[in-house]
Amino acid sequence: MAGIELGSVSKVYQGGVTALKPTTLTIPEGGLTVLVGPSGCGKSTLLRIIAGLEEPTSGTVTIAGRDVTQIEPADRDIAMVFQNYALYPHMSVYDNMAYGLKNRGTARSDIALRVNEAAKMLGIEALLQRKPRALSGGQRQRVAMGRAIVRRPKAFLFDEPLSNLDAKLRGEMRVEIRTLQQRLGVTSVYVTHDQLEAMTMADHLVVMRDGVIVQQGPPGHVYDEPDNVFVAGFLGAPPINLLPGTLAEDGTLHLDCGPHVTLPVHPPLQTGSKVTLGIRAEAIGIAAPAGSLTATVELIEELGPSRLLHLRFGTAKIIAMAPREPALRPGETLAIQLDTAALKLFDPETGRACR
């Protein structure tokens, strides 16, 4: 594999703050790898170490088979898109995109060719003579991407590129970046704190927390099979419902909030152990045949195609995603059904999944 390899890379800042614990990661070639996690989890530090803007305290960085740990950012053959775009305000769009090529001594005609090609790809040909201040947020974003594309690098690095855009534009740009990345087939690393962006864009999802990679894999797999309670809670909107309980002798789970839930298989745990049950909103169904579990509707949020039901389940509150029918109103008590295949059990002490 000739993507990006990180060999036990770590970063400790002056003053002893550890941003990144020794981390080994393989970023597959040609795909889009998303680093996601809450702020302060070390994802940006990791990206900046790949870029060479931050020197790792230990470890090695290999890009396309070449050890670049001691190599200057400019010579790493990577291009980066910054959160605030970092466009040169006194230069035209054309010059912004051409600057890196000029500095590398690329022939003038070649620069023009590449800039025009990238501008066409991004639909910003008409803006080439403008200054960044005369552009909208989305246009600036495109120029920043254009500046990366013209370099034809071995890897693209994106540092929360959409966080300054409004929600609608963010959705559009998400698709655009994804399409472009697939078309160019360049290894890309994308940092975000937005789980939706991470889920929708990633080929390979890397979830980080407190300077450690907690889980990685294809986004669907990470979503379905979270290794721990943090990953389960971080991915997905509305967040997963977490209900503490105790495992009873007959294999049922006695939830602290009251109800008893029958588990499909007996988990590899001793009777009487404490567990946390994780159940996603879409795995809670409104049962047509009256089931043994009931819940009371407290609030209904209409989403359009579906709706979120805020339910009182015993003494706990849970959120269920339900179709628009049948009509319901707050205060009503319903029978609910849990998709037993989708039940997750976590150790409340360590947070790890019990499988």
Partner: protein
């Protein structure tokens, strides 16, 4: 938001509050200016006993006779040198201090010190260090074969006052440049680093254009300083000499008016200086208001 404007019910209180400022402005600024303007239109004897109205004769004499044009030229040269030197040195020091990050704080503090020095004190120190007989720097220069004597050599005298005047503005420019540099987003420099721009290229193609508004502002401030605030410095180092070689406009006014007692021409020169400072101030105000922002 709370309104910043205070509304008074009667006019008495606001007038009373304004009175001290109006009195100071009137007595110390407007009245002397008016007297100087009047004086510039008269010819008077050395004791001020007799005055003859001569219209613009004093101005005509300045501009068409004598050595006033040479003084103008000399002042321009002096101001230009001081401005360019102090801007360049201020910028270089600011870039260096900025690149040090946090550890540069102590340098920042030290570099601002010269600004706190009174011009006369600074002048005396410079004159002492370069004194032809006892100056330590003169001694050092003699070792490398330079026979420094600003008392006799007009070029050296000019060099001395340019250096002395620039030193003070270097501190001022340094401070403003440092603030301007720190206002440049860090990611811009990182993007440039990825775009293969080395430190020198970054300075010329990014930093200097980005801090151009600061440079324009400092240009006006430095010129104003060099033209008008350097009297104390010159009067404590070269006394305008040797000959007239360091006599710039403000010093010429002093020489003509206070030493030679030629009140009319001195007053006319004051008016010319007033016009110049007025013009520079106008430029400054328009710059500050129409700050070029990206």
């Amino acid at each position: 938001m709370i309104a910043k404007r205070v509304t008074f019910k009667r006019t008495g209180l606001p007038l009373a509050l304004l009175a001290p400022q109006l009195a100071v402005t009137g007595i110390f600024f407007l009245w002397p200016t008016f007297v100087a303007l009047k004086q510039s239109l008269y010819r008077s004897d050395a004791f001020g006993l007799r005055q003859v109205f001569t219209g613009l004769e004093n101005y005509r004499a300045l501009l068409f006779h004598g050595n006033y044009l040479a003084t103008l030229e000399r002042s321009g040269f002096f101001a230009g040198c001081v401005t360019v030197l102090s801007l360049a040195v201020g910028l270089v020091l600011a870039v260096m201090a900025d690149s040090l990050g946090r550890s540069g704080r102590i340098w920042q503090a030290l570099l601002v010190w010269p600004y706190a020095l009174a011009p006369a004190v600074a002048g005396v120190l410079w004159a002492y260090m370069f004194d032809p007989a006892i100056g330590p720097i003169t001694h050092a220069l003699a070792h490398i074969g330079i026979d420094w004597n600003h008392v006799l050599n007009s070029g050296e005298a000019m060099t001395l006052i340019v250096m002395a005047a620039a030193m003070k503005q270097v501190a001022y420019n340094f401070l403003f440049y440092l603030a301007a540099l720190q206002a440049i987003p860090k990611s811009l420099m990182e993007a440039a680093a990825l775009d293969a721009a080395g430190p020198v290229r970054r300075l010329f193609s990014l930093i200097i254009p980005l801090i151009a508004p600061t440079t324009l502002f400092l240009l006006v401030v430095d010129l104003t300083y060099a033209f008008f605030d350097t009297f104390g410095l010159i009067d404590s180092t070269t006394y305008g000499g040797p000959g007239n070689s360091t006599t710039i406009m403000v010093y010429q006014v002093y020489k003509d008016g206070f030493i030679d007692q030629r009140f009319g021409p001195a007053a006319a020169q004051s008016m010319i200086l007033l016009l110049l400072v007025g013009a520079l101030t106008m430029v400054q105000f328009t710059l500050v208001e129409r700050r070029i922002d990206y």
